[in-house]
Structures are given as C-alpha cells and as structure tokens.
Symmetry: C2
Subunit: 349 residues, 2 copies
Amino acid sequence: MVSRSVRLAVIPGDGIGPEVVAEGLKVLDAVSGELTFERTEYDLGAARWHRTGETLPDSVLEELRQQDVILLGAVGDPTVPSGTLERGLLLRARFELDHYVNLRPVKLFPGVATPLAGVTTDDIDMVVVREGTEGPYTGVGGVLRKGTRHEVATQESVNTAYGVERVIRYAFEVAASRPRKHLTLVHKDNVLTFAGDLYQRVLKRVAEEYPQVTTAYCHVDAATMFFVSQPRRFDVIVTDNLFGDIITDLGAAVAGGIGLAASGNVNPDRTAPSMFEPVHGSAPDIAGQRKADPTATILSVAMLLDHIGEGDAARRVERAVSDDLAERAAFGERSTSQIGDAIAKRVSG
Amino acid sequence: MVSRSVRLAVIPGDGIGPEVVAEGLKVLDAVSGELTFERTEYDLGAARWHRTGETLPDSVLEELRQQDVILLGAVGDPTVPSGTLERGLLLRARFELDHYVNLRPVKLFPGVATPLAGVTTDDIDMVVVREGTEGPYTGVGGVLRKGTRHEVATQESVNTAYGVERVIRYAFEVAASRPRKHLTLVHKDNVLTFAGDLYQRVLKRVAEEYPQVTTAYCHVDAATMFFVSQPRRFDVIVTDNLFGDIITDLGAAVAGGIGLAASGNVNPDRTAPSMFEPVHGSAPDIAGQRKADPTATILSVAMLLDHIGEGDAARRVERAVSDDLAERAAFGERSTSQIGDAIAKRVSG
Ligand SMILES: CC(C)[C@H](C(=O)O)[C@@H](O)C(=O)O
Ligand SMILES: CC(C)[C@H](C(=O)O)[C@@H](O)C(=O)O
C-alpha cells in the first residue's frame, strides 16, 4: 500500500465552529490509515477581524489555493456587523475558489426523529445541488440616498448560461448515479422570468444528453410545501443559490435538524480546492458549552473524503455516523466530544 | 338598520378558481343580511388570453378601480407560457392597485391535521405581512445574448424606504393588536446586505413608536427551519415579497395544507380596491373534478368582510369555517360544493 498525503486547510471559524471541527478532525484521524493529512489551521473569523480588520486577506486566499481541500466550521458573530464575515470570508471563498456546486444531501437516517408525522427514512432521501457562484449572491446592487425617505436599495441576481449549465450538468450526473434518476428544477420562473427561463432552457437542452434521467419542475414556494407534505417527490434537486440556501435549511429541519446537515462547496473542475462545512451557523448562543452536535461536521468530513477519492473511507465514516444515530435514543445527553469520540471509535473499531 | 351596498368585482380565473369562487360567493350571500353586493364578474385568465391575447387590459383595470373590493380565485394554466397570466394579471393587479400589504394568516384550526408531530393549535398562530409591490417582484431585469453560451439573465430586487416603511408600519399595527405583540423581521441581511440593511434600519426606527411591541430578526433560511421545529416563535412576521411568498406556502403546509390558506392583497390607504384570494394556485390537475377545497376562498371572504368594515360578518364566517373544520374528520369525502353548502348553512343558521 502506498501512503498518500493530502494538504488539508482547517478554518475552525467562530462560535461552535472550533468545537465541531475538533471532532471532525478526530474522526478524520481515526479513518486515515495509509492516508496522512498535512493540516494547516487558519485563524479566520471574528477574532481576526477584531484584531486586524481582515476577513479573508489575499495572501491567505493564495495559501488556500495551494491546499488540496478545506474543512470549515462556521463563521459569523454578533460582535461583527451582519454580513461582514459571511460575505468577506465564507462567500468570498466560495466565489474565489469557484465552488459552483453547493452539494447538500437531505437524508433521514434510521433512528433520527423528524418533526414530520408518519414519515420514514424512505421518504426523505434527496440531494440538493445548489448553485454556488451567482444568482442573488453576487453582491451586485447598491444603495442610493441612504438613510433618507428617498432611499433605494437594490440587489441583483446575475445568472449566466455558463454558470447555469455547469451546475445543471453536475446535477444530471448526480441524478444519473442514483437509483431513482429523477431531477427536479426548483425556481420561481413565473415571477423571476428572465432567470427562470434561462434555467428551464438549459435544463431542457442538457436533459437530451441524459435520457435515463426523468425531470420535473417545481416553484420554490410549492417546494417548501412538498418538503413537509410529500418529501418523497424529490430525488435530486437543482436550484439557484438563494433558493438552495432556503430549502436546504428546511431540508435539514425535516431530516432531523441542523445538527446533522452536511455540505460541500465543490469545484468539480478541481481548479481550486473544495471546501466542506456543516450547514449550520456559528450558533453563538451555545458556543463554548460543549453542547453543539458535531455530526454535521463529521458527515461533511465524509463528503470531503469522497471528494478526494477516498470513497471507502467516506463510507466508513457515514456508516459510523449512521450506527451512532440509530442508537442515540438510548444514550443520555452527550457532550460534543463524547459524540465525536463515539463515532471515531466506531470508525477505527 | 340601513342597508349597505358594496361593489364587488369577481375574478374566478383558471383551473379550480371558478369552483372555489362559487363557494366563496355562496357564503357571502349567506352572511349578507342588510349588506348587498353588486357583483361584476370579469372573465380574465387563460381563456381570455387565448381568445384575445389580453391578460389585464387597461380598460378592465380602470373598471376594477371603481369597485370597492375584489375576490379572485386563481390564475395560471399549462396552456399559457409560465408567468404570462401570473405577471400580466395577478401581479399587475397587485402593483397597479398598490396592494403593498399581502396579508397571510398562518393558523392551525382545531381538528385540522398538521404534518408536524406533536404540535397543537397554540403553536401555530401567526400573521405574515408580506410586502406586495417591490423586492424581486418588480420585473426589473433582462436578458442579454439570449440562447447563446454567453447569455446573461438578471433580476433586480428594488426596495425603497417609502415601500419598506409603509409595510413595516402596517406590521407593527397588526402586532400591536394581538395578544403577544411580537414582530419578527424575516430577511437575509447577511447576504442581501443593501436591502436587508434598509429593512433593519426602518424596523428599528418605526419600533420606537411601538414600545409595546417586541421585535426580533430571523434569516429566511432559519425561519423555514423554525416553521417546522418551533413555529411558536412567531406571532407577526414582516418580510419582503419573495421571502413572503416562500414562507407562506410553507406556513400553509404546516397549518394543514394549501386548501385552507387565505390571503388579502391589501391597499391600506384605500386609494384602490383591495383583492382577496386563496394562497393556492389554479391546480389544473384537479380542475373540474369537484375536489378542490373551497375553504381557503371562504376564509379569504372573511378577510374581505373584515376589510370592508364588516367585522361581525367576518367573525361569523370564520366561526362557521372553524366549526366545519373541527368536525371534518367525521365527514366522508365531500365535494367542493358540499363543503361550501355546509359552511353557508352554518353561517345563515
Ligand atoms: C452564512 C450564510 C452566508 C450562508 C449562505 O447563505 O449561503 C449559510 O446560510 C449557508 O447556507 O451556508
Ligand atoms: C402565482 C404567483 C405569481 C403568486 C406569487 O408568487 O405571489 C403566488 O405564488 C402567490 O403566493 O400568490
């Protein structure tokens, strides 16, 4: 067996970020085997912003580009103006590293309580392919006459054939690889007619290359309804950046809570490192209390392993999480690190 | 007792629209008493568009302006390009008649099944005040190099201090009138920084005039999560046009389904007639099958009565609906008109 070394950038971030990342790394260590990770930690987040005013300096961005893959905890803090760290650090990384696929599985694991009545694990098993580099997230827009009665504030959603096609193509690949092979476009094409029409036309065109995949369309408002009333409708979803943000939080909620939702900010062309992170935020209200559930981060580590070609290791981590979840009802309250220890033990055992 | 005559425009629309509107009018007749409605029906929708290419002609719009109030069923049909009727008729009416408040109660009635486990009627009782005349619904945007690999499609969200202040002020009034007096702003201010910041600043300023109302902020993605995990968090919500569209469909789903969700497109300054409609769409798949639930339209009629100053009549309709819902489990399947008949009977009885 040849040993393999992977350069891993770690951005613990704010709030519960460092706590959950510690457990993610613990599990990564447990699974490694012939795989070694050369870790570099980056102290980005609220503390650095307070100290230096920096969110993601160019020099750090250049260092990140040299890494193979990135693990991020969470960013955002009430002491920092809303949006500063989110835009300056998280979104900047997604845009600069061209993470055009934001991959978010929505899956109900056995043993996990869902807030929905009468729903089983078969009903909730989908993958949301959220566009990650355009739409309303571009930051394009502005403000005129700020603070006056005549203020106008705009936000522009920018969508390109280039950007839409590559994410739709990726979604077809994901759909083609799954048993149901069903892809739903979620948008709001009856109101956002220009962007919606572009998504629809590209979907239709790319669909010709994937005759084995069935397709459907669903307005975003109706989709939120179906997430709670008929989640089984969905197998793979492709959607724009903002709609994807909204429905994946809802997806996390129906699949047992934000403590379990993993995600990958993926650059499928591998022109820059991809970045894996839990869907949840920095949760400053419970930071430092050893209460945060590290499961979402650990599942993000599994996605990371998959991305770097370590599918077997990824499967081992997923199985360990799944087994832990199945027995969770029997455990009492466990601290962040107790959950991490238990899963790490299963992985190495 | 003096008799009062009210000019009512009726737009049945497409799909199940005419079926549910018929029941709404039945209940209105049952409640009327000293109140008479001079009804004018407008044949707007898919059929007219196919016949004449018109959605909402200027001449009809001018006639609508002369009415006191409007009842609308639903618009949209698969034979018409997506968005044509929605934008040309529904949204045009909302914008031209300055329906800057889109009022959407989200309330779980006794006896109604919710998809959420362990939730009671006390947990779901909120009012969403959705902005109705700006945000991403303006239609501002365009497309460049359509159909080529270099296509760019934009959608602009336009938000003004004028527009934001009036809807926030209305939301504070609604909150002040309710027992909990709690108002939550739902937005995405960490990404849509220009628009979100405007909403935040206006909220803070107007809040000073309502010291009895407590306020909170929630990102739209987190809000969808809380709708299913902790709906009790919310009393009154104020939000932008698109976020309001999304969360009220979700709200309808958790409060027992889209068949029950009522709404008012309200012009609080009464410079033009307000328009009441069920939140659901035209549901072409079940049109003509006498299956559609007219309850949402009947509850919209109650909101209409309230708006024209007939609070007692509104309360009677609501109570009749509530009583009907409470006993629904005991009934077998009922047709659209059987439900309408039952509620109308309770209202007159
Ligand atoms: C923190 C925020 C900018 C981010 C987003 O909106 O994408 C988060 O909600 C997410 O879903 O990863
Ligand atoms: C039909 C559509 C244009 C409309 C909207 O998006 O406002 C509908 O979804 C609604 O909520 O009334």
